[in-house]
Amino acid sequence: MINTYLLKRGIPITKDPYGDLAKILKIEKKDLIEILNNMIREKQIIKFRALLNHEKLGYRVNALIAMLFDKEEYVNNIISMAHITHFYVREPDIRFPFNYFAMAHFHDEEELKKFSDELNRMNVRFEILRTIKDLRSE
């Protein structure tokens, strides 16, 4: 329960974040801190951290890059070629035949162009799916 709440809403960004979260969860602040520290100790979570707005920080071109390749050693190459926050292996679909999916963030179109030129040089088949809007942030 606490997990889902934290993942969706996060810790309130107020003068007393844990105090206010404890009030929402109807528990004592010191108990909340203990629960959270236990979750970290038991490795359910690694830590808490702020999620920043990448567009406001200058990453204006954001895209899901769907790729098809076999060579696993390409993964590290690709990670080093752009600012990639998420990278997954997925089962290809006949209508969308790609097996690697990367969420990539670029400062501008030129950076994206360099990235796709590099993929072409590697003979990786790919498709760029630009982010128009985060539909969860409204």
């Binding site: 997990n3 889902t4 934290l6 993942l7 969706k8 809403r9 996060g10 810790i11 960004i13 107020t14 003068k15 974040p17 844990y18 602040k29 010191k30 801190i33 959270l36 520290n37 979750m39 970290i40 490795k43 359910q44 979570i45 690694i46 830590k47 808490f48 951290r49 702020a50 999620l51 920043l52 707005n53 990448h54 406001k56 920080l57 200058g58 990453y59 899901l64 993964v75 600012h83 990639i84 926050t85 998420h86 990278f87 997954y88 292996v89 997925r90 089962e91 290809p92 679909d93 209508r95 969308f96 999916f101 963030h105 799916l129 630009r130 128009i132 809007k133 539909l135 969860r136 942030s137």
Partner: protein, 151 residues
């Protein structure tokens, strides 16, 4: 945004302390007082630089669930309704509009793949969508959210 704000963003995107007084802990690293840290973080959130403060899950706990990326072809006029409906599910974690034939992309988690598949079928039926794909997640290679903070 000044240099101190940037220092704060860099610090909290790595870790937001679990502590009765988290701002005091941050202030010890940044070298300004606790109240100033609190005010700056509240402002950076209000101005939209900070989206939220959430847990980073371990790979082990990530892998406890099956996951899939779902892509649907949804008519322009139906996007807003679809957005609200899809977001109403607790196990939907990302939902993006993209410039592609499949224009809505979201992730779903569940106990097993069958459960995910039947949920997606129900969503598609409710939204009257026939053209959609479910891409089963086989492995997460990287789950990271840190950005280089410059400006």
């Amino acid at each position: 945004m000044d240099k101190i704000d940037i220092e704060i963003l860099k610090f909290i995107q790595k870790e937001f302390p679990v502590d009765e007084r988290p701002y005091r802990r941050i202030s010890e690293h940044i070298g300004i007082d606790e109240r100033d840290v609190a005010e700056r973080i509240i402002n950076l959130h209000r101005e939209g630089y900070i989206k939220k403060i959430i847990p980073k899950f371990s790979m082990e706990s990530y892998e406890k669930y099956e996951r899939a990326l779902v892509a649907m072809n949804i008519k322009e006029n139906d996007i807003d309704y679809a957005r609200k409906y899809i977001n109403s599910f607790e196990n939907v974690t990302h939902n993006y509009l993209r410039d592609h034939h499949y224009n809505i992309w979201f992730t779903v988690s569940g106990k097993n793949y069958e459960e995910i598949k039947s949920q997606v079928e129900n969503i598609a039926e409710k939204l009257n969508v026939r053209d959609y794909i479910i891409l089963k997640t086989l492995k997460a290679i990287k789950l990271d959210t840190e950005f280089g903070v410059e400006i």
